[in-house]
Symmetry: D2
Subunit: 355 residues, 4 copies
Amino acid sequence: MIKAGIIGSTGYAGAELARILLRHPEAEVVWYGSRSYVDESYAKIYGNMFQLVEDSCLDDNLLELSRQADVIFTATPQGFLAGALTEEILGNAKVIDLSADYRIKDVGVYEEWYKIKHKSPQFIGEAVYGLCEVNREKIKGARLIANPGCYTTCSILTAYPLVKEGLIDANTLIVDAKSGVSGAGRGAKLPNLYCEVNENIKAYGVTTHRHTPEIEEQLGYAAGEAVTISFTPHLTPMNRGILATEYASLKKVRQPDGSYAFPDGAQVKAVYDAYYGKETFVRVLGEGAYPETKWVEGSNFVDIGFQIDARTGRIVMMGAVDNLVKGAAGQAVQNMNLLFGFPEQEGLETAPMFP
Amino acid sequence: MIKAGIIGSTGYAGAELARILLRHPEAEVVWYGSRSYVDESYAKIYGNMFQLVEDSCLDDNLLELSRQADVIFTATPQGFLAGALTEEILGNAKVIDLSADYRIKDVGVYEEWYKIKHKSPQFIGEAVYGLCEVNREKIKGARLIANPGCYTTCSILTAYPLVKEGLIDANTLIVDAKSGVSGAGRGAKLPNLYCEVNENIKAYGVTTHRHTPEIEEQLGYAAGEAVTISFTPHLTPMNRGILATEYASLKKVRQPDGSYAFPDGAQVKAVYDAYYGKETFVRVLGEGAYPETKWVEGSNFVDIGFQIDARTGRIVMMGAVDNLVKGAAGQAVQNMNLLFGFPEQEGLETAPMFP
Amino acid sequence: MIKAGIIGSTGYAGAELARILLRHPEAEVVWYGSRSYVDESYAKIYGNMFQLVEDSCLDDNLLELSRQADVIFTATPQGFLAGALTEEILGNAKVIDLSADYRIKDVGVYEEWYKIKHKSPQFIGEAVYGLCEVNREKIKGARLIANPGCYTTCSILTAYPLVKEGLIDANTLIVDAKSGVSGAGRGAKLPNLYCEVNENIKAYGVTTHRHTPEIEEQLGYAAGEAVTISFTPHLTPMNRGILATEYASLKKVRQPDGSYAFPDGAQVKAVYDAYYGKETFVRVLGEGAYPETKWVEGSNFVDIGFQIDARTGRIVMMGAVDNLVKGAAGQAVQNMNLLFGFPEQEGLETAPMFP
Amino acid sequence: MIKAGIIGSTGYAGAELARILLRHPEAEVVWYGSRSYVDESYAKIYGNMFQLVEDSCLDDNLLELSRQADVIFTATPQGFLAGALTEEILGNAKVIDLSADYRIKDVGVYEEWYKIKHKSPQFIGEAVYGLCEVNREKIKGARLIANPGCYTTCSILTAYPLVKEGLIDANTLIVDAKSGVSGAGRGAKLPNLYCEVNENIKAYGVTTHRHTPEIEEQLGYAAGEAVTISFTPHLTPMNRGILATEYASLKKVRQPDGSYAFPDGAQVKAVYDAYYGKETFVRVLGEGAYPETKWVEGSNFVDIGFQIDARTGRIVMMGAVDNLVKGAAGQAVQNMNLLFGFPEQEGLETAPMFP
């Protein structure tokens, strides 16, 4: 049984971490950190935890926590961990960061998109981007995990095999993503009020959303070259879920007879299966099947479907995740499992809840 | 590992049973019965089960099923089980009925409220009303469990201790209940369409809802006399959850000094605690705390709060459940656990999901 | 064409006033008051008003406004108008107050429930409670209108004729009310965030909600004696709408043959029709018909239905309104129409929007 | 006062027509046609119309209706009007068809996408595509109006000026559209049940949705050449509203100094303003402003915003409509106004409802 601490445990992602870890057979939470609620009963803040969590919230003293815990999760605002992380902390405990501080290798790109100065660029190099299906082996030996963003997890995994195998032109990629409101966090802000969001859909952060360079970096590794994409997030009236609808131009690929032609559905499916056929948490629905966010709610699954459009020479890929699970806390636990040698699906086996 | 069969596995309650049993360490589902979908892939009908359930649906041949299974769950329309149950079936397997067929001991009352002829009244006597917190010991030895209704589970448990201990006059009880839409089932009916239900609240079945006599019977046992109540269900725009707001006149009770007075909050709380203090699945929030359906979503909990109103001499009790879990499938599994000697909370430990 | 000013025009009720008055043929808004948004473009704050309202927000200088306007609407926090109203203002312009400052005749009751000192009790006497269907003639000559609360409008109108005619015992009245979230206002508070409210229902303010004494006072006038009731509001996941489910014990009334008996459905219906048959904005659905909030959305209607319960000797009355229209801004405009001799339905004829 | 008939008056679009026409000062509905509800009270089917509409439903006898009405609206399934329309009917009354039967000029394209044989292709030629902002003058003299689809109205108007003026390459256009559930109609189908749609988002009809060729045809006229686009609709958990997010590659345009360069925001805005500056129902929000469906709910507005992405050389255009108003019934009434010489905005001036 390892000991885990959560800094930022009273945001929605932190609370989902607390919820998942509560039933994890190999980990126990010893530190519910929350700057806003120090000394307040956790179960008063999250009524679902009544009689399940007896703890009160602690502060965000990372060093002290690192002495008490084997693993630290930081579900904190951008810049917090970068400003607090030290070699000593990393020497004491593994750190899984749910913020973006160590996701982007080029610190200049980070600072440009996030509009903040990075305070500990020296750790960027060793941080492993915790997209388990892509970086599994690297994760196992890491001290510092940069847990991927919600939109990015969904967007990257949906396109990754086709970019990697050269079936699509990554520079034509357009990701139109729709997210539930929990992605906006638990801050008391007018735009997130029920009456502002309910019965409403809108785009936001058009051309400027910070998950854009993260997707570009990872798909760039797959493509073997720099990639520029369009990414548009939308706020959708539901609690949880992200659906990414992704458009790209197909590339002609070498056929068995030596000629070059656009791939057909079976070929695309075969590529997806080659990458994800053995993955527990990626479910390839196949051609003509469209994922729905509700089918993955509460689970760590990514569901992927696609449709080839012969008229336009494009493919439409669709991916769905629960933004708080595979898009945040679930993937963080999956990373923890890899770091400590637990079965990868430990604590994450809940079937999606429907309805 | 016992073998379980579900008749009516493609309704919402049946699907929740399938979902819970999927992760139950002591049971496996060997029969997904569904008259409407025989031979169809279960995971096509419920996309959340993709790659988790490989089975196709079978028919509703109870006798055959009883030979293959240790326990049968019937999540079927009223009258189905009453028309199909036999001594042979009960000899082969335990039966947990999620319909109302064996809940009401007086067959005349059943036939009056349900407007159907009961076809096997001979089994009513031995059926045990599966409200675990009240009938735990009786359940353990039963062959046939009448799993309580969703509204009734919530309504009864919320008032039960106060009726039993004589703190309230049960004949003044008014239960105003609000339910999510999943309680209406998965039938394709116009009133359950999204646009008819969304942004809308209405009462239905006023003075005639079939859960009324079920509540009256059970609270009558607690009161030691026949009880007549008012019960009004409402359809609320949410998937899951029941909130029962219950009003009753307080009765004067003997005080430590020998006088008689209305109970105060502490006395009421003490009564609740005496009944539920050791219960895993009943959480007494106490006076001035109001349960919210979201705090129990996806879990087998009943949350109970109350408020005394000195001005009117009434008490307002409030109870919240997830109608598909404690109100149906979860309680059915809890009954199964009791029947087979498993830990009562086995398979039911998921913390409520929020948000 | 009269000139109108709105103080508090950027709350939801104020915005609904602005929306209704925009299409009112006899009134124009000359003052969009908003302490929080002085000098900001109104259409930036409410995007629906883009290109419809060109004004920027002004402050809350009531005296100055009273010199420019014929009528002032105050959609302001409790205590604001009581602290600002003067004889001079009332001499300049009619005032329709959407807050509770002048609704309750007994200043002690006001101060007890609202926990604030009333700063201008000298105006309470002349203020007319603007429930148009009850106080129509008094309203016409008034200077100061106390526009009823949202819950109270619905709760009172639903029970009023039966209390007035002695068909029910008002002291047995229990009002279980369910409201959409817009009733909580546009303040950026955590409990009103989308993810906190969505897929959730809860009671609040149990036994202490401030609309209680307002209902009691008005039904007391109808009963001819002081009345004490139970009132419980609930927060429901929808933008608009209030449904009040009201329970009361029937009283025996004199029958044509001279005997006394409980009224039947036809008798109850006849009483409702006698009071509301000629009312434009009250629609009596009758026995066995249950109002739905969606059927009145966006309109000034109150829909009323009922069901007699012979088993318990009670009647269940149900009323539905749009809390922002008949429950606030619509009724305020109805009052304005009465004050200025316009047709009562002017500007309020929009049919309810469905779905 | 003209007389109007509605065939298909009990679908959501038909009901919205009934609602708008109820308050139209120049038109009255004399025929509520509904094959499913003949002889049933209209107000029983749509409770919002209680005491507002006294009529019962009639059948779909177009010829008889054409003798009684000046204008006929057909809100009917694909193929109905094509199978029923005659020269005699068109001689008697104007016909505004909300189905797709006469929208597409090439009958082969119609039959390919709709998978039905067109039964009266002889009327296709004279039918005018009723997109008022584009075809205003042609509409005025027409007998037969093909009222545009909901997705198409939004998608076309959002891109039209930029295609027409050559600022974007229409063949790169990708339309990712999100619709409320009312677009799916009032049929009692499982996928439209509350619990299936709520808390869920999914794509459907990917690459095959029938609105695709309609968009292509109209934008083809603007481009002056055949156009092929990608169109993906999504089902979003809300009653009303369509948001179209549209992506296209910018084209270099001649600048004042004679050089060629990508247009900047001001140039794009100027083009939009040139086309829509005088339009009542199109509101150009401008660069960096993102439309929200809630801001147009219940109104006939189209709100348009955009963002240029210098990194990718693309523009993101966004348009929002209420699918039942500008996307169906409102635009149909706008067409009626044009046909009969009424002010174009008559009956359509309701400000959007918020929240």
